[in-house]
């Protein structure tokens, strides 16, 4: 079972590979594959016949007008919504019938469009909650403060700080997450998702509310995360500079259906996409 496998999977091992080219179509199983995915809300078909196959270290983008169904797709992929139709395979295993928690343990982590942090907890604690998947002490061990408890706490304290370093956030480690500036909150959410040890990271509008300078830095960070941990990233974004700058493949969604797919360049010049989404300005 994948969940058992993923339980044992060490988190955040930095994979040393010189080759950073996405391994699309290399004959390996896609890390994430969805087929004919669809969901209806009452009469509204929010998503219909959505297909995706992602390579293990691919950065893909999902764009589309407001209300196109992008966030809904994330909710389907993480089993927050049960799909009306279609299948989702993670590393070849179906996620059907799994709880949100189990899907996360299988290897899909996400952030939210409207930030959802553990506001009252510290930044480090937020990350440590994510590390929960990798921690293994029994309740009694913790209650009685056996040596194993101390060893594990120390180990993950270090790991958490290392992770925070990615976004240069170590200095915030003891701050309350809810008190962080907006941009830092968005970044912390990404780190928390990373801490759960995913194979696929879903980012819902990570650059929302960031100014262009911050966005640029974020772009760099996303690449860096992919390179260090060798995971796939799927992101939703309205900020075209980010999408065009970092994504290797982009899908365009409108009214719940994919209307175009391809490299950023292809998308940018697709008249359908310009009409439905980009507008004249979007093409800069």
């Amino acid at each position: 079972m994948p969940s058992e496998k993923s339980k044992k999977r060490p988190v955040l091992v930095q994979v040393e590979t010189p080759n950073l080219i996405p391994e699309r179509d290399l004959g390996t199983i896609p890390v994430l594959q969805a087929e004919h995915l669809g969901i209806d809300f009452g009469g509204l078909t929010a998503v219909d016949d959505f297909n995706i196959a992602m390579g293990h270290t691919e950065i893909s983008g999902l764009i589309g007008p407001n209300g196109a169904g992008k966030t809904t797709i994330f909710n389907l992929l993480t089993n927050v919504y049960k799909p009306t139709r279609g299948t989702i395979l993670l590393d070849g295993y179906s996620t059907a019938g799994k709880s949100v928690t189990e899907v996360n343990k299988m290897g899909i982590a996400r952030t939210f469009q409207n930030i959802r942090l553990f506001d009252q907890m510290t930044v480090e604690e937020n990350v440590l909650v994510g590390f929960g998947n990798a921690m293994s002490t029994h309740l009694l061990t913790d209650l009685l403060r056996l040596p194993k408890h101390w060893r594990q706490e120390a180990e993950f304290h270090e790991k958490a700080l290392e992770l925070l370093d990615i976004f240069d956030m170590r200095r915030y480690a003891d701050a309350r997450a809810g008190n962080l500036p907006y941009g830092a909150q968005r970044r912390l959410e990404i780190l928390r998702a990373l801490a759960t040890g995913p194979q696929v990271l879903l980012l819902d509008e990570p650059a929302a509310g960031m100014n262009p300078a911050e966005t640029e830095e974020l772009m760099e960070n996303i690449r860096q995360i992919r390179d260090r941990f060798k995971i796939a990233v799927l992101l939703i974004e309205h900020d075209m500079s980010l999408v065009m700058g970092v994504c290797e493949v982009v899908g365009v969604l409108d009214y719940g259906r994919i209307i175009a797919k391809g490299t950023p360049e292809q998308i940018q010049s697709d008249p359908k996409v310009i009409e439905a989404y980009l507008g004249k300005q979007g093409v800069k």
């Binding site: 007008p65 407001n66 209300g67 100014n211 262009p212 300078a213 966005t215 309205h238 300005q281």
Partner: protein, 236 residues
């Protein structure tokens, strides 16, 4: 001509946190003025204070020659000053139509019928979804609803707090087009934006806010080419 809205030496705090530290600015009738600045600069705090949601610590806010500092939000609105708040804040359990109806709370039914038609012209999507529960709208749809709702009170000064946040590029364009349109139709506009590029393009004048104080001001065109501004807010 005296400014329509003039804010002088405004200070606002949340407990120990000083969010706004003595800012002064003015808006003339018919202008589009924008406030830009980084996260946490105090932009929303300024708008909320003008709208009467937050109490100022000190300073004066004059609207059409009348001091409105300390006037309650519902009375501020009656003077013709509407705020479309950050984060949309639509009434999630009410339908789109009911949300718009609430927007016209201080207006007569007849006036509302007219305004509603205009709002639906600006935002056809809202017309399509008039019976949908607002909470289930997508982010962009909710933003449109929030703007439409603010318009329902027929304000003379409309304050918009990050109206383009989370919107598709084509919609951002649309929103700014609407902003211009509204302005041309006679509504004075105070715009707070993260998307400084667009904001400066449409604005007559602009103020740059940094940690609760005004760092720079000028016409939109001036600031668009200002080096410091470009570096900090325009990513170039």
């Amino acid at each position: 001509m005296a400014a329509m809205l003039s804010v002088r030496d405004l200070h606002v705090s949340y407990g120990a946190i000083k969010a706004v530290r003595g800012i002064s600015f003015g808006i003339d009738e018919g202008e589009i003025v924008t406030l830009i600045g980084a996260n946490g600069a105090g932009k929303s705090t300024t708008l909320n204070t003008v709208a009467g949601l937050i109490k100022a610590e000190s300073g004066s806010i004059e609207f059409r020659g009348e001091d409105i500092a300390g006037v309650k939000a519902h009375n501020v609105l009656k003077r013709g000053l509407a705020l479309c708040p950050e984060g949309r804040r639509v009434f999630t359990h009410m339908s789109v139509a009911e949300n718009l109806e609430m927007g016209g709370y201080t207006r007569s039914d007849e006036e509302n019928r007219e305004t509603l038609a205009q709002v639906f012209d600006h935002f056809p999507r809202l017309k399509e979804r008039r019976e949908q529960q607002a909470g289930t709208l997508s982010g962009g749809e909710q933003q449109m609803l929030a703007m439409g709702r603010a318009l329902m009170s027929r304000p003379t000064l409309l304050m918009l707090d990050e109206p383009s946040m989370g919107l598709a590029p084509v919609l951002v364009e649309e929103i700014f087009a609407i902003v211009k349109q509204l302005n041309e139709a006679g509504t004075t506009i105070l715009l707070v934006e993260q998307n400084a590029n667009m904001a400066l393009t449409v604005a007559d004048r602009a103020y740059v806010l940094e940690t609760g104080t005004i760092k720079k001001s000028g016409t939109g065109a001036e600031l668009l080419v200002d080096d410091d501004v470009r570096k900090a807010y325009l990513g170039g």
